[in-house]
Subunit: 304 residues, 2 copies
Amino acid sequence: MRNFFSAFVVSALLTAPVLAEDTPSQRTPNDIVAAAPPGDWKRIAPSDLLVMDLAPDAAGKARRVVIQLIPAPFSQGWVGNIRKLVAARWYDGIAVVRVQDNYVAQWGDPEGETPAKAKPLPKGLTVVPESEYAVGHGVPVDLTIPNDSYRTGTGIHAGWPIAFAEGKTWPTHCYGYVGVGRNNSPDTGTGAELYAVIGHAPRQLDRNVAIVGRVIAGIENLSALPRGTGDIGFYKTPEERTSIRSIRMGNEVTGLPTYEYLSTESRSFAAYVDKRANRQDDFYIHPAGGVDVCNVPVPIRAVK
Amino acid sequence: MRNFFSAFVVSALLTAPVLAEDTPSQRTPNDIVAAAPPGDWKRIAPSDLLVMDLAPDAAGKARRVVIQLIPAPFSQGWVGNIRKLVAARWYDGIAVVRVQDNYVAQWGDPEGETPAKAKPLPKGLTVVPESEYAVGHGVPVDLTIPNDSYRTGTGIHAGWPIAFAEGKTWPTHCYGYVGVGRNNSPDTGTGAELYAVIGHAPRQLDRNVAIVGRVIAGIENLSALPRGTGDIGFYKTPEERTSIRSIRMGNEVTGLPTYEYLSTESRSFAAYVDKRANRQDDFYIHPAGGVDVCNVPVPIRAVK
């Protein structure tokens, strides 16, 4: 089930159907996830989580967004910067400055583009080269999703959706995934400005912007924010922005649930993907017979 | 440019690159749309628009959603029902009852599942057969999008994204597209309960639920609503719902802008699709080289 991809393996898998499992036809993807044995779930280390607390909403309700940072071999230059920015408490007091419908919610220093007013960045941030948007050959593929519209191989590696072509592998822009805002190339961004995808997967950003994580809880605190009415969804006035009270690493926050993801090497996950592609429960008449890599979100759960 | 698809044409197009146009490499998709000559824009008849006015928001701001109904040959049984429901003013006073993150915002009669309390439907609604989810062979394809993840041909017909396989053609579930809520098959829904997609394209619904239109203005009035905290995003209490004041046909509403879509038979549209697949402006380092049918939204504009 765990394939190390090579040109040969990829071309074979791209023409093979999504892995079929012997599961009762009426089961839904959620049924399969609910029935997964405990050993199929993998704990996410709290030290790999960002806990972003926004200012409470108008009714005084707390708004927390939990982001899992992407593991090696991807985007580690930016992930390292983000850890330094959290350690320096740099994110505390910045704001969600842009919400563009069917695209992204973005947060950063509202004065970041004005050198005289910009919040000074901590020392020691890495300037990450463009070559880090993708890594080389040899990333293990737990499960391959064939027939990608973007002309690449796609699949899942250690819980993360990936694409691969021409000896390179990179993470994909799916719903809820978090990337690094930047200006035009060769600037690659520091990680001080981040965004989460809140619409259809903008896969054209793959290999052009760094994916550094994904929202695993509280995405609605970003996706349901009022859309900005300025250019590309920026808020026109400071009052429209949502303030960020703090961003902390998960291991700094007391009372955080334990988060787990469904191992993408497990039979449960393979059966889940098959059911996402081939729904046969009572609601469905025509199983799709395929699925795209961003339409098989890796199941994640919170455990008390 | 306008191909009538056949098994032969489809198989040829599926292996061909997205149509390339001779456009300056730095142009963005928006540049191409902005430069499209007036003749490339087609007027949408006001009689094919639904104008849905939600109750104003907490600040008293009006919330209008404009939906274009899908033209023949698709879903005309349900579209006919919807016209009758509007004529009977049946939708007036119902509510948005469900908002599920990364999936749908749905509106209908909150008491629709309780026969004793349900709002009576007008006479004359058609019971639409499942065979209407797809139509037969012979729908003209203005532009083909190759390499679909769902193992079908995909393309654009007269301004609408479609998929086709095995002699059948159907509209696709993309962001902002509106479908007919229903219970388990063989119920196909009347059109009294509708939803709009507010997340990544749920293409598994294609051929299983009827697409009847798309939101062409005001999607943020649905996509930014608070998410329901009940099962599959239903609101738990009536207070959480958003009331629908009225739904009218566009030709019944004074002061509505004229809406136009970019002809999908035009050279401008072909160039736009090519740029969606192959961004070469300053921000982009690696053009994707492909695109999926739901990531090339048909450009629509309001004209005074």
